[in-house]
Each structure stands twice: as structure tokens, then as C-alpha cells.
Symmetry: C2
Amino acid sequence: MTKVTIFGSGNMGTAIASVLTAGGASVEHIGSEGGTITGDIVVLAVPYPALEAIVASHGDQLAGKIVVDITNPLDFSTFDSLVVADGTSAAAGLAAALPSSHVLKAFNTNFAATLGTTKIGELETTVLIAGDDETAKQNLASLVTAGGVEAIDAGSLKRAHELEAVGFLQLTLAASEKISWTGGFGVVR
Amino acid sequence: MTKVTIFGSGNMGTAIASVLTAGGASVEHIGSEGGTITGDIVVLAVPYPALEAIVASHGDQLAGKIVVDITNPLDFSTFDSLVVADGTSAAAGLAAALPSSHVLKAFNTNFAATLGTTKIGELETTVLIAGDDETAKQNLASLVTAGGVEAIDAGSLKRAHELEAVGFLQLTLAASEKISWTGGFGVVR
């Protein structure tokens, strides 16, 4: 049984836990008090600004593990830009801070509701996964698909820039009520 | 009757013409030989590198008109980056070159087949439109929806950066056969 540790138990942490548990994983949550990481896959289901503290407090424990960044690093004061440098990504920054981990970008293009129901409209929900370690991507994709959600390998970790652009755009559309929080971008194969 | 001039009659130019004609517009095409622009809305359905020549040859005629940029400025030699500067967009560059035009970004997140059929899987095809002129966006959206395709105002022209990221990602997914050229990102409201 794959052990998964999820930092955070908000909407996204809970929704991701439901998918991965349905996929056969044993899931534990770690809150802001911290704790010992037992999972081989670690999902950082926290807001972007919280990543830095997790790296500082748990970076050593994350070595050798698959670390999943789900963040959308928006400037929430303006909803008009990201707080990471142009052309880069939160995931790239995390990978630089955790050189001994296998960092993946995933789940940032999914609203929590579409993970919970495994549907976006009439479509199956699809998790887009970017990363430089093929085995790590396959491990996460296998758990996700076993949990009833589609998964697509979106390419190298460099593609996290585009995934974060998709997540950003989707958040602006929902915040401006052009789409609902149960909708967004679905993937048609 | 709205007059539309479309530069280019490839897959995209033809598909866009079919939607706008169905929406009640009178459409004329201009090829690489150039010609007189009669449309109030001008769609540049050409590859990104062709924009510069159109600006040079027809920039004066484009003053006061709604100019629609549909390009995805990929580096097609690598399929791994865009050729525009980080944080900017082809559309922003076009707007800077055509300061007297109302530049919109649209259609770049739609594969031609999904415009031709007005469907992406079981979903209605959605055209995402970004631009700084509200009336221009509304005019194009009205034609598109009258032509049987959904339209969503994706925000200011600054959002062209995100639309181009979506288009780029979608092209990489199709080129690597993760999705088909009749699929891609659909929008669920």
C-alpha cells in the first residue's frame, strides 16, 4: 500500500485525500503544527506562501520522496499577476529548494469540487502532472487513476509554468463568475 | 451585417470563417498577396512569424479596427518554449505595434476541428477572448455566439499571456498524442 502524507486539510487537501484513498493509498495529514512524514508521496496542499516554512522545517525529511506542489502563486491582492518571476513557476522554485526530492506539479488546475465528485460537468476530471522524474509521475498517475480520476503526463517540470498559467486563468474566471467553482477547464482526449 | 476580413485561409482561417459566417457576418479572406481590408473586424489567422509583415504592409489600414490575434508563438523547433519574452505575449507585441487598433486575443485555445463542429467532445466549444476594449470584445463574442460557439470574456489583454500558455500546453499535449486534435481544453461553466 502506498503511503501518502498530505500537508493541509483544507478543501484541496481533503479532496486530494479522497481521490488517493479511493486509489488504495494510506493517507495521513500533517497540519501547521508539523510532524513526522511517513509517506513516500508528499502532497503540499497548502497556499503558496506556506511552502517556504515547510521546506525549512521538513526539507531534510523530504529527501528522496515524491513531493507534489499544487499551488497557484497568485497575487491575491490584485488577481492580476503571479508572485513568482516571469517565465518560472512555484514548482521550479520548490524543486530548487529541494534538490534531493522528486518534485511534481499536479492538481493546481483542478478545483476541489471536481476532485471530490471526480467529474467536471459530464467529463471525467483530469489531473495534469508535470515533472522531470518519469517514475514519480507514473506513481502519482497510477494512484489518481485508481481513485477514479483521469491523469495526463503534461511533460517536464518546465511545463509547471503553463500549468500555473492555466490555474491562474481558471481562478480569475471563477472569481469573476464567468465559470463556477464546480466547473473550469476539462480535458477532452 | 458585420464585415470581417480574415488573413489566411488555412485550417484556422477556414474554421473561424465558418463560425463567423454562421453568426451572420460577411467574411472575406486576404492571402499572402495582400489586399484592401474592408472588414471592421480583422482576424489574423496566420502563423506568429507572419504578423510582422502584415503590420508593415497593412498597419495603416488596421487603424480603428478590431484586430484579432489567434497565434501561438511556439518555438516549433523544440516545442519547449515560446519565442516571445517571458511574461509577455504575441498579442501584447501586436498591440504595441498597432496602437490605433483594438487588439483582441481569441481562438488560440481552440483547435480548428472544434470550431468547425462547434463541439469539443460533448461540450460546446468555447472561445476565450482577452482584450482591453470592452465593446470590441462584446462585438466578437456576439458574432461567435450567434455562430453557435460559446464565448467567455477572459479579461484584459494582459491575460493573453495565460491564453498563450494554454494554447502552448494544448499543442504540446496533442503533438505528444496525450490528446487528439479534436480534443483539448473544454470549458465547463
